[in-house]
Symmetry: D2
Subunit: 134 residues, 4 copies
């Protein structure tokens, strides 16, 4: 699927706008989404909520899967596992999703999420899951 079609699909995800997320990069099998840690995206200690980290990691992985599909297709997450390594603390989060194994029936994906502060980039989460073409 073309980067333009992926962007159009991304723009239909109102959750991404709510989180202030940006589709930063689209390459075949690899998609980057960035997001600030908005005042409205926090957990109880003021860090980014696990739901924020999950949402952009999952979406980056989903669009990576979509980037290897035919025009007109779409994907849904069927399952996703996230390991949270460190607090989501910093100026912004960067999620990179990658296709591990594309498939007609299911596509296995991974994503890594970093928190960036100035020049420092810290790995905060790893995701591994399955996308279902629909």
């Amino acid at each position: 699927m073309s980067p333009e079609d992926i962007r159009a699909n991304f723009d239909r995800q109102s959750m991404m706008a709510t989180l202030g997320a940006d589709l930063a990069e689209v390459a075949p099998g690899r998609v980057t989404i960035t997001a600030p840690i908005l005042p409205g995206s926090r957990q109880q200690q003021g860090f980014g909520h696990a739901g924020l980290t999950f949402a952009i990691g999952d979406s980056a992985a989903g669009y990576a899967a979509l980037s290897m599909m035919e025009d007109g297709q779409d994907v849904l997450t069927t399952e996703m596992k996230i390991n949270l390594l460190r607090p989501a603390q910093g100026d912004r989060l960067v999620a990179v999703g990658e296709v591990v194994k594309p498939g007609r029936r299911i596509t296995v994906v991974r994503a890594t999420v970093w928190a960036e502060t100035d020049d420092r980039r810290v790995e905060i989460a790893l995701l591994q899951g399955t996308m279902l073409p629909v």
Copy 2:
């Protein structure tokens, strides 16, 4: 921890307010969170975003873990797996988190998320993960 302290902790999670989520019920080892599928919480097809389903399921599970801890403690999700069964479609989502095995070092939790429409309640997601007391 008392239901009041759990509610105070919940109220500090700005993400819950952003998603319109409500702490509906707190019992020892079992917490219910509900949320509408707001216009700003959607994926590309207009269903609730996986990030919404994850966020309330994960939070319900986390507060279930917290409900079995001492005053003054807090918990962080260390890992969570979600299987998405059906689209998040309906009037509102209901997430019930439960403690499977409390522990001093880690607490294993599960959550189920339903989508409700009038009198119909459909299971849309199952979560299984680990909370870390901090």
Copy 3:
């Protein structure tokens, strides 16, 4: 699929024989496998190896999925998450696999594994995953 065909499939899994596992019960969407903790199935502390717990939990879940399929079908595990709650210690392990949501394309399953000693039954693991019909 009939219990007889499931048993025939189980008998072709040489790993089950190696582990001393027994197909104890087959009902539609629910299958029980038991196994002793053989001298050759241990981890470094003498408890049952996580590989043993996983193998019978995963197989119980897989056969539960198969029990809801047509004759002539087969299933493969595409992903499985296991949370280990307690050491695999006792006279034998009992794994019960259940179908959460059957489907033409994927079937979501869960399994619980207990360790039994005389009259005591302790939950030692929870599995949640996805089976792919082939």
Copy 4:
């Protein structure tokens, strides 16, 4: 922990002997285990059983965690997710476990399992999980 102590720990895992597994390489934070697909380690279609792939992947990850710990410590798997990419088919399986984030309370790990045939090496599984020092 020294490679010798890790080897001694490995040698106490009778399950590894049952599966014919070999501790091939130990480096700080990275451990390789290999195993043939023995006649007694098969699933119903004659491929390696998911329990075999899981057992060596999980053990490689666990020993990678142990390799970064002090003498006298031990680790237990608390949770592990496996995505199976392709059938376990070939002359032998190779599992490489790596530490993603070491920690005093939990250590996050990953493992990759390949199936080798002559000069061909195919990725068959990805694992991501958590080890608990004990």
